[in-house]
């Protein structure tokens, strides 16, 4: 049987549509994955540089002759928050402090996981926190191990950064985010009393 030109053209168009329907989602998935990988690398790079600088600043601030206390998370956010916000598109940068308290930071240790940040501040939030591991005081009779050490300061950027992740594909609990946990640790100088 001979097909007419119109029928054949309709069949060809249908075939093209089916091919497009099969290939297009895969193509867009690959495109999104590539863009997202690039974005993620930029964001991670900014986080690494920022927490490294923050750890250095916090260690310096803790090493003053009049102060042995490292700055809290809010001071660190004031220090590096601006440069982080420029790189973390669509992500909120906050200090890891109790949002219900105004006087003090409230949270002493860093969140255990990115999920803990999401539980307090919601999705697509990166929290900056500071931990100071102070050495034990040196007793005269039986000094404890490491009692003369200089304090160790750790700054972490932890949470979920915004990403082009479709629903069901993300490492986060919600679509459009990827978990991040970047740390920088350094020793600070302690002046003799």
């Amino acid at each position: 049987m001979r097909l007419r030109w119109g029928r054949r053209s309709r069949r060809s168009a249908a075939q093209a549509t089916v091919e497009f329907a099969v290939v297009a989602p895969l193509f867009f998935l690959c495109l999104l994955a590539s863009i997202d990988a690039g974005l993620w690398a930029v964001q991670t790079s900014a986080e690494v540089a920022a927490v490294e600088q923050a750890a250095r600043d916090a260690a310096s601030a803790a090493a003053g002759p009049l102060s042995e206390t490292a700055p809290d998370a809010r001071t660190v956010v004031a220090d590096i928050g601006q440069r982080l916000r420029q790189a973390l598109f669509g992500t909120t940068v906050v200090a890891w402090c109790d949002p219900t308290r105004r006087d003090a930071c409230g949270f002493v240790s860093c969140p255990a996981s990115p999920g803990a940040v999401q539980a307090v501040f919601g999705p697509r939030v990166v929290a900056l926190c500071v931990e100071v591991d102070a050495p034990p005081p040196c007793a005269v009779t039986a000094p404890a191990a490491g009692c003369g050490d200089s304090p160790m300061v750790t700054v972490r950027a932890i949470g979920y950064v915004a990403a082009l992740v479709p629903p069901g594909f993300g490492a986060g609990t919600e679509a459009g985010e990827i978990a991040t946990d970047i740390a920088a640790t350094t020793h600070s100088l302690r002046f003799a009393p």
């Binding site: 001979r2 097909l3 075939q15 091919e19 099969v22 290939v23 895969l26 193509f27 690959c30 994955a33 590539s34 990988a37 690039g38 993620w40 690398a41 991670t44 790079s45 690494v48 540089a49 490294e52 750890a55 250095r56 931990e131 591991d133 191990a145 490491g146 003369g148 050490d149 200089s150 160790m152 750790t154 946990d181 970047i182 740390a183 920088a184 640790t185 350094t186 020793h187 600070s188 100088l189």
Partner: protein
């Protein structure tokens, strides 16, 4: 030759299927390798950061400060690499080396499952920019992910030279601290293994000058 229409249609369908079968794997291969490249860049930057902070931390201990026997690097889980459980015995080596290791392990927490470390002595002395080799301290742990070349003065008065960089302050050179870390990035345990067939070796090197008040 005149091909019948039905055969031509089948031929066209087969050609489309073949094109798709060729293009999709190539597309996926490109995407996998692009993601792997982005991952490599991120890990390299984290490694650079960890090694730099490690080298800087050495100066937070005095030159004559040595760890007493039984001291361990990373007694606190927060400063160790939780995945490898690295615990380094640092008794008898300069305290600055332990500080360097603690800073390194504390910073290099991410991407641990992707990295295979090239282990080396934690603390070495000697060596210069003209190629003279460095030697590990006698008590230095051998299986560390980071290695630092530092100078020190032991409690018995024995002086260990640091790394001499002749490019700085020529021709006599300047005593500096250098730290190195090397690791292979292995994608074998990730979905990227499907299309990534290379295993890059990442290396980070940091050289730090002593602060002015110590020179």
């Amino acid at each position: 030759m005149n091909i019948p229409r039905r055969a031509r249609r089948r031929h066209s369908n087969a050609q489309a299927a073949l094109e798709t079968a060729l293009v999709i794997p190539i597309l996926l291969l490109l995407v996998c390798n692009f993601i792997a490249l982005m991952l490599e860049i991120s890990v390299q930057q984290q490694l650079d950061s960890a090694v730099t902070l490690a080298a800087e931390s050495r100066f937070q201990a005095t030159e004559s400060s040595f760890d007493p026997p039984g001291t361990m690097c990373c007694p606190d889980a927060r400063c160790c690499n939780g995945e490898t459980g690295a615990q380094l015995q640092t008794g008898g080596i300069p305290t600055g080396c332990r500080y360097a290791a603690e800073s390194f392990y504390g910073t290099m927490r991410s991407f641990g499952s992707l990295l295979t470390w090239h282990l080396q002595p934690l603390c070495t002395s000697g060596g210069d920019s003209r190629g003279a080799p460095s030697a590990p301290y006698p008590a230095s742990p051998r299986g560390s992910e980071v290695s630092c070349d530092v100078g020190s003065v032991a409690p018995d008065g024995n002086a260990y030279p640091g790394y001499l960089d002749h490019a700085l302050n020529p021709p006599s050179g300047l005593d500096v601290v250098i730290c190195d870390a090397t690791a292979s990035l292995d994608f074998g345990d990730t979905p990227l293994a499907w299309g990534v067939f290379w295993t890059p070796t990442l290396h980070a090197h940091a050289e730090v000058l002593p602060p002015p008040f110590r020179q």
